[in-house]
Symmetry: C2
Subunit: 375 residues, 2 copies
């Protein structure tokens, strides 16, 4: 059970420790005990981790609200006429890197990812950073084609890299102001998401619209707008991203399709209305939407019919111990893994594997065999 003293430190919106602490899960990580909040409760974010041995609290990263129209979405979100920074939102794996004795990379849900941890220790000057800023959390996106979680290609990234989009107080979760954070990242040589501009909120609409247009054209995700103090955040994404996520979800329809589809088509419709698209643009968007849903699903059904493996394909690269730790980690999460390639290249181990989409495989098999649905 989590020690009671942490209730106050978490600034929870309940006076009853039991109300909150019964939702913390106890995990053993490299000789430490981690207490992890598995769902947001009483004002404390999901993925918040308490490491009693190190007397450290690592707050979960807050979920970022989304607007469906830029105008008046932006000015109505940032009410005070304050200055807003427009940064790129990247399609990668979101982790918090904190020093809890050693620096560890925590996933959104509070697990320690051994692969991301090793890559972070390898490619970021963590020792130097945490010596000067022991109570900060580095919030970063792991992007590139060689991660165990995402596969989005970014120009110029062959394997994987970090982009630091936030630096926060470990325990309170309070972020650095955008300008200070960008300067600090520069100082340590951390990669950062691009900054597209800063302006009074209502003056950013045109810039954001143009930026989204440019990002859409090259298949990138979208933007996050942040108040100068870094506290208020809101996101908006491109058509390519909506359709890409649908294609991903419907390549594993009975794993992700149901949860993904409605929100993405809604985003698409509001975007089309706000952009006041021409008949031709609408036709193009509708066709692309339909193809994003139908083609990956058809292809997966055909794969199941042919007895092929269906799921997410990933390639990872690292020292052999890290790779072993990664697969232990994936197995602990009850994932079915099939390795399709496993080889040493210049002292690094490179593995290509599939996270098998069990639910999709089994449901599709069942329907192909003539099974019925009640609907």
């Amino acid at each position: 059970m989590v020690p009671e003293e942490y209730l106050e430190r978490l600034e929870a919106t309940t006076a009853e420790p039991d109300d909150l602490f019964e939702h913390f899960e106890q995990r053993s990580v490299a000789g430490q005990t981690h207490y992890v909040l598995t769902a947001a409760r009483h004002g404390v974010e999901r993925g918040t981790v308490i490491v009693e041995d190190a007397d450290v609290v690592v707050r979960g990263y807050p979920s970022i609200p989304r607007i469906l129209v830029l105008d008046p979405g932006i000015p109505s979100f940032f009410e005070g006429g304050e200055t807003v920074a427009i940064e790129e939102k990247l399609d990668g794996f979101n982790v918090r890197i904190a020093d809890v004795g050693d620096p560890l990379a925590f996933t959104r849900s509070g697990y320690v990812c051994p692969y991301t941890t090793a890559q972070a220790r390898d490619s970021l000057p963590l020792e130097e950073f945490f010596a000067a800023h022991p109570r900060k959390t580095i919030c970063a996106e792991l992007i590139g084609p060689e991660t165990p979680y995402t596969t989005h290609d970014y120009e110029g990234i062959d394997t994987h890299e970090f982009r630091v989009f936030d630096v926060r107080d470990c325990e309170s979760g309070v972020p650095l102001p955008v300008a200070d954070r960008r300067e600090l990242c520069e100082e340590y040589g951390f990669g950062q998401p691009r900054l597209f501009g800063r302006a009074v909120a209502s003056d950013t609409i045109a810039t954001v619209r143009d930026t989204i247009d440019d990002l859409d054209a090259v298949g990138r995700e979208g933007v996050v707008l942040k108040s100068a103090d870094g506290v208020q955040m809101v996101k908006y994404t491109t058509k390519t991203q909506h359709h890409g996520e649908l294609a991903y979800a419907f390549s594993m329809p009975f794993d992700y399709g149901r949860d993904f589809v409605f929100s993405r088509v809604v985003r698409d419709a509001f975007q089309a209305v706000e952009l006041d698209e021409s008949e031709e643009q609408l036709e193009e968007r509708a066709r692309d939407l339909g193809e994003s849903i139908l083609r990956p699903m058809i292809s997966t059904i055909q794969d199941v019919a042919a007895g092929e493996t269906v799921g997410e394909r990933h390639r990872v690269r690292g020292d052999p111990e890290t790779i072993d730790a990664l697969f232990d980690h994936l197995h602990e999460h009850s994932l079915t893994i099939e390795r399709e390639f496993d080889q040493c290249e210049n002292g690094e181990r490179v593995v290509e594997f599939v996270k098998v989409a069990d639910s999709s495989r089994d449901r599709i098999r069942y329907y192909l065999d003539g099974g019925t649905r009640d609907e």
Copy 2:
């Protein structure tokens, strides 16, 4: 509370009356007390009605399972190599007409619809039928452009008509064999869904495929296959129907979109795979799918932006008392109704009205005003 003697008559799969009867809702209808089961429980169908005053049980209509592929869907559903009848599935309003003192039309969920009741009394020889078959239920679809529930156009139907697709024992729910039922309907002059053929299950696949193709070409819904005794039933639907339902749902996205979308796109994908569609056919299907989702939603968002009423438009026609009773009925179901046309034509009252899609209107307004989503 429902009298205990009905437990046995319902052939429930529980020996505890309370387990079942607490799910019955008591309603007062034209001086009678109706006990209505609001959800399927213990082997008793949703919409089952007990009318104690008339000592009648009206079993709910069972939900019909669906296959996603015809081959091997049909032969594996009808295992015994039995004879199967292929009948048309119509897109209308499903009611059970039973004599509980007077003949009443019950909806799927067990409400008495005053409009459907009046139309049934008017256009079907109910007195004659129930005199000879007092313990039967007529299961019928009310179809055509002038019903308060559906608007599907059928060639040759200007207002509305009944199609009787089943005749069942009121209390046991046991259906008449298909051939006997069709003969009985003929005898009383009841309209019926078309019969496309009868054959051993595995021999129906080609017929069903051709039938679906023909129905698809003229925008009709699909087929129901029934074992000769009428007990086993399974359905399969056309592409036009999937896309039509999506267009309907996304014209009111926050009322129906989320519930409708996943199941329809799944049906579409399995159909495309089974038909082994050409590149051109796939493109056409994908484009049509995207348009069915996107265009009605965009149009509704634009209507909300313009301050117009959004919802389902219907036209009904009947004697003034029936029309009044219908609107009382709709208001009892907490529907927001806007009448757009209300006039007498040759002694009949004709009303055009909108069932306002409150949730869609309010959510769309909220997002257009810059509201955020947590996702």
